[in-house]
Each structure stands twice: as structure tokens, then as C-alpha cells.
């Protein structure tokens, strides 16, 4: 009973399973069962608006999902990927500076990264609508110096991508910070002693060692950004509709559950494929 392994864990008979059971049961009932329900619904047939769809191996829902909403799928992944890339460009240097140069201010700086996100995400997006609106000081100034045309920036793809980037940025910064913080500064010193300059030390040592953080951060930004519908709703127009808007509309407004379910499944499938490819490219498969 009291034998422990290297990490101090012991063999426990049934106790650990009893501890796991309630949480895992919750997960089974309210994660896996709903997915199964969703799958069945995606193959159901809806005869009219008022009768319940019946399971019928109705593959046409998938055909409809692809043929009618291809644009929205493409846009979602394009916007999500662009937002992820920009978040990486903004977030990586920030995480790097906090981890390596933050000194005793580290925790304070890290707190500052998180503080803005104690306000609700809808309210932050509404704030961006104010900032990017045609009446705002920011847009007026940009128009005066010729950076922006008369049409402004709100209700456009850049506005939506900007909102997505902002809203999920901390999810990029925090994992990268955790990864960089673990790097022993002595390794960088060693590289210097061997006559590498700052850039070489970064490229050969810090960056490769921070890749797990980049991987985790990219997923944590990309998945919610690609599936979002709030930013496109507040900051975009009909030409920037994303798949999230379509799914939301099909589920909650149209009540067309079979097509909504098919759309959800296709979206989830593509996300999983992209994540797998990304993991292969980055060589961090053990993380998933």
C-alpha cells in the first residue's frame, strides 16, 4: 500500500477509480453522448419545420453543408489562421520579454496580460466596435492622414480578424511564456561563450525550446477564433459571415438541426485534420 514510484505515486486499488468516476461520468454523459446525438442528427431527415427529424442515413445534409456554405468554411479557416499568425507575432515578443527580461516584475507583467480579460468578451468586442466606428477619433485621424478611405474599417474582414486576434491573444502569450520561462538562462550564456550573437542564440536555442508553447498557443487561438461568431456579428457584415454564424443561425433561428449538425461535424473534422497536420509539422505530437 505504501510503496511509491519515483513521483511518489502509490498503487491504490479501487480508490483512484472511485475518485475518477463522477467526473468521467459527467464527461461521458455531457460530452460524448451529445456528440453521438449530434452525429445521428447529422444523418437525419427533416420533412417539415414542425415535425421531428428522423434518423435515416440522410447524407444529403453533408452535401448541403458543403455546397451552400463553402465560402463560410473557407473564410473561417482563413480568418482563424490569420488571427493566429498575428497573435503569434504580437504575443511571442511579449512573452519573451516578460520571461527573460521581466526580472522581479515578471508576475506583475503577467498579471497585466490577463487583467483586460476580466471584462466580458462581448463587451470587449463592443468596445472595438466603438473604436473602429466611423465616428471614432481613431478612424477620423486615420482618414485625415490618408491611412483609411472614406468607407472606414468597421464591417470589413480586417475588423473581424482584428477582433479575433485581440480576443484570443492571452491564450497565445501564456503558453509561450510558460515554455520560455522553463529555459535555463545558462544555456543562452553557454551559446554566447561559444561566440554566438543574440540572434543566433535565439534561433538555435530559445526558439526551438519554446515550440511546445507556440504549438499550444496556436491551437488555443485558432480553434476558438475559427469557430467564433461574435466578432463577425459585431465587427463584420454579410460578406464576412463565418461558419459559427451559420451554425448559430441554423441551430437557434432556423431550427434546421440536421444541417446544423452536419455543419458542426464537418467543421470539427476539418479542425482535427488541421491540428494533426500542424502537430506533424511542428514535431510536437506528444502534446495532443
Amino acid at each position: 500500500m505504501n510503496e511509491r514510484d519515483d513521483e511518489g505515486r502509490r498503487r491504490g486499488g479501487v480508490t483512484p477509480w472511485l475518485l475518477l468516476a463522477p467526473g468521467m461520468l459527467w464527461l461521458a454523459l455531457f460530452f460524448f453522448v451529445p456528440l453521438w446525438t449530434l452525429f445521428r442528427m447529422s444523418l437525419s431527415e427533416r420533412t417539415d419545420r414542425f415535425s421531428d427529424p428522423t434518423f435515416n442515413w440522410e447524407w444529403s445534409n453533408y452535401r448541403e453543408a458543403f455546397s451552400q456554405f463553402g465560402d463560410q468554411f473557407f473564410r473561417s479557416f482563413l480568418y482563424g489562421a490569420t488571427a493566429t499568425l498575428i497573435a503569434l507575432l504580437i504575443g511571442y515578443p511579449l512573452a519573451y520579454v516578460i520571461a527573460f527580461r521581466g526580472g522581479r516584475w515578471r508576475n506583475l507583467l503577467l498579471g497585466l496580460v490577463v487583467v483586460p480579460f476580466f471584462t466580458n468578451y462581448l463587451i470587449r468586442t463592443l468596445a472595438w466596435r466603438t473604436i473602429l466606428g466611423n465616428e471614432s477619433w481613431f478612424v477620423r485621424t486615420a482618414q485625415d492622414i490618408g491611412l483609411l478611405g472614406d468607407e472606414g474599417i468597421l464591417r470589413s474582414a480586417p475588423a473581424v480578424i482584428g477582433g479575433l486576434t485581440y480576443n484570443f491573444l492571452p491564450f497565445m502569450v501564456l503558453p509561450i511564456y510558460v515554455a520560455i520561462e522553463k529555459i535555463d538562462p545558462a544555456l543562452v550564456d553557454a551559446a554566447r561563450d561559444l561566440y554566438s550573437n543574440t540572434w543566433q542564440a535565439f534561433r538555435k536555442i530559445v526558439f526551438p525550446m519554446s515550440l511546445p508553447g507556440v504549438f499550444a498557443g496556436s491551437l488555443l487561438v485558432f480553434i476558438p477564433a475559427a469557430g467564433d461568431f461574435v466578432n463577425a456579428y459585431y465587427l463584420g457584415d454579410v460578406d464576412t459571415t463565418m461558419i459559427g454564424n451559420v451554425v448559430q443561425d441554423q441551430f437557434l433561428v432556423q431550427g434546421n438541426y440536421p444541417v446544423a449538425a452536419a455543419l458542426s461535424f464537418v467543421f470539427m473534422g476539418i479542425v482535427m485534420v488541421l491540428v494533426t497536420i500542424y502537430a506533424r509539422v511542428l514535431g510536437t505530437e506528444e502534446l495532443t
Partner: protein, 279 residues
């Protein structure tokens, strides 16, 4: 930091550039927050608080003027309290099982825990909606009315993962042989648990509970799918209302929530660092 203090002249320019970039990133993070706080002092011309008109303290003197918004906030706090409690208990059990015991199947369980966090929220929300409404709720086979219960069920589902992962990360390095020491000195298993084990893992549990509470109050997409027409949480209220009006009280209440959150964060940080100094 010792590394980087001795830098070649070329590196100094790069160093300055990177620092400036990071500073701008931090400022960027605060731009909307500044706007939210500023517009809590605005006296909007119409029903939408989007264009700056004139400075006023009115909104702060009547922060609870929009009753529907206040009710929604209270409901959000209640739901967060219940969901946090359930998720913290279940998640902590899972974390303890994974950290303290050698069990077969530990790896698959880790994988299962991450799944809800890597599944798009619209998929989680949509699938739960189908589970809760009439013909499709195949397993439960009964008419769940959408409302507080379904919101709590849905939120606990993803909060359990967050809690389990957070607690596990915080308790991983702890010295469990202290338990053996207590028992060797004659403490009963119950006494050992309350006097040794619980104090060891409590900071991790508290951190996870705070995270769960914040995530619960903030959750919009999943909650929106399973809330039904009559149950309105704070984010759902803002979303529904934003089509017809955005009263400045939204900004006032958000600023209040922000101040309270920062205060809790600050107290927690000070408390932790003081404890570290003592021990």
C-alpha cells in the same frame, strides 16, 4: 537577468526594438479596456452608447438602473457559484487520482480531459442543445426544459477539465511522503488528510476554483445555446440587448467586475508571496 547584460552593439538595437514591441503589445491589450471605462462616464445621445457625447457621473450614481441587466448579473453569479462548486469537487478528485496513484490508463484519461477544451464551442453548444431538447435527447429520454439546470450541466462539463488540469499542475511536485511521516508518527488517516494533505493541495484548489468562476461568468457561446428563451445570464443579456440598446450601465458594471477581479488577483498574489517568504 545575468544573461543579456553584456551585449554587442548590434544586439542593443534589436534589444530595444523587441522591448518596445512588447510595450506596444501591452498597451494594445488595454486599448478597449480604456474605452470601456471611459464610456462608463459617457452621456449617450440615443439608446446606443457608441459615440462620445459628454462627461457625466450619472451612470455611476445609478449603476443598477437597468434592472434586467442586474438580474442577469445576479443569475450569472449564482450559476457560477454552483457550477464552480461542482466542477471543483469533481475536477479535484480527478487530479488527486492522477497525481497520487499509479493507475493503468492514466494517459488516455489525460487525453479525454483535453478533448472538451480543444473542441470548438459551437460544436459543444449545439450538441448539448440537441441532447436537452425533445426528440433527440436519446439517452435521457425526457423533456429537459432549457434553463439554469442545463446551463450548469453544460458549464460543469468543460470546467471539470480546467479544474483537473490546473489542480494537477499545482500539486504535481508536492512531497507526498509527508503523509507517510504523519502516519508513522501515529496520525490517523482522517487526521493525516485534514492536517497534511488538504493544506498541501488547498492553494491549487483555490486557484482552480477562481479560474472556474471567472470562466463561468464569462462564458457566452455554450451558455447561449443551452439557455433557452427565458433564462438570461449577463453575457446573454448583453448579446440580446445589443441589437436594440447598449446602456452605459453595461460599462459601469463591467468596470466594477474588473476592479473586483483585479483586487482578488492582487490579494492572492500578495498572500502567496508572503507565505513563500515565511516558509
Amino acid at each position: 537577468m545575468s544573461s543579456g547584460t553584456v551585449t554587442a552593439p548590434a544586439g542593443r538595437v534589436g534589444r530595444f526594438f523587441v522591448n518596445a514591441w512588447a510595450a506596444f503589445a501591452l498597451i494594445y491589450l488595454f486599448i478597449p479596456i480604456f474605452v470601456i471605462v471611459l464610456f462608463s462616464f459617457n452621456n449617450p445621445a440615443g439608446r446606443f452608447n457608441v459615440i462620445w457625447q459628454e462627461f457625466t457621473f450619472d451612470n455611476w450614481l445609478h449603476p443598477f438602473a437597468d434592472e434586467g441587466l442586474v438580474d442577469a448579473l445576479i443569475l450569472s453569479l449564482q450559476i457560477a457559484a454552483i457550477a464552480t462548486f461542482v466542477a471543483t469537487v469533481l475536477g479535484t478528485f480527478i487530479a488527486i487520482a492522477l497525481v497520487r496513484y499509479r493507475i493503468r490508463g492514466g494517459e488516455p484519461i489525460n487525453f479525454l480531459l483535453v478533448l472538451p477544451l480543444t473542441t470548438p464551442e459551437i460544436v459543444l453548444g449545439g450538441s448539448l442543445l440537441l441532447l436537452f431538447i425533445r426528440p433527440t435527447g436519446a439517452l435521457l429520454n425526457q423533456d429537459f426544459s432549457l434553463g439554469t439546470t442545463t446551463i450548469v450541466i453544460a458549464q460543469v462539463m468543460f470546467l471539470v477539465s480546467y479544474v483537473a488540469i490546473t489542480v494537477r499542475a499545482r500539486v504535481r511536485g508536492l512531497d507526498w511522503t509527508l503523509e507517510d511521516a504523519a502516519m508513522d508518527l501515529g496520525a490517523s488517516p482522517t487526521r493525516t488528510f485534514f492536517r497534511v494533505t488538504l493544506p498541501l493541495i488547498l492553494p491549487g484548489i483555490l486557484a482552480a476554483a477562481l479560474l472556474a468562476f471567472a470562466l463561468s461568468i464569462d462564458d457566452f457561446i455554450i451558455t447561449y445555446f443551452v439557455s433557452g428563451p427565458e433564462t438570461t445570464t449577463f453575457p446573454v443579456r448583453i448579446f440580446n440587448q445589443s441589437r436594440t440598446a447598449t446602456p452605459p450601465q453595461i460599462n459601469v458594471l463591467s468596470t466594477m467586475i474588473l476592479i473586483v477581479s483585479v483586487a482578488i488577483l492582487a490579494i492572492g498574489t500578495v498572500w502567496q508571496s508572503r507565505k513563500r517568504r515565511i516558509s
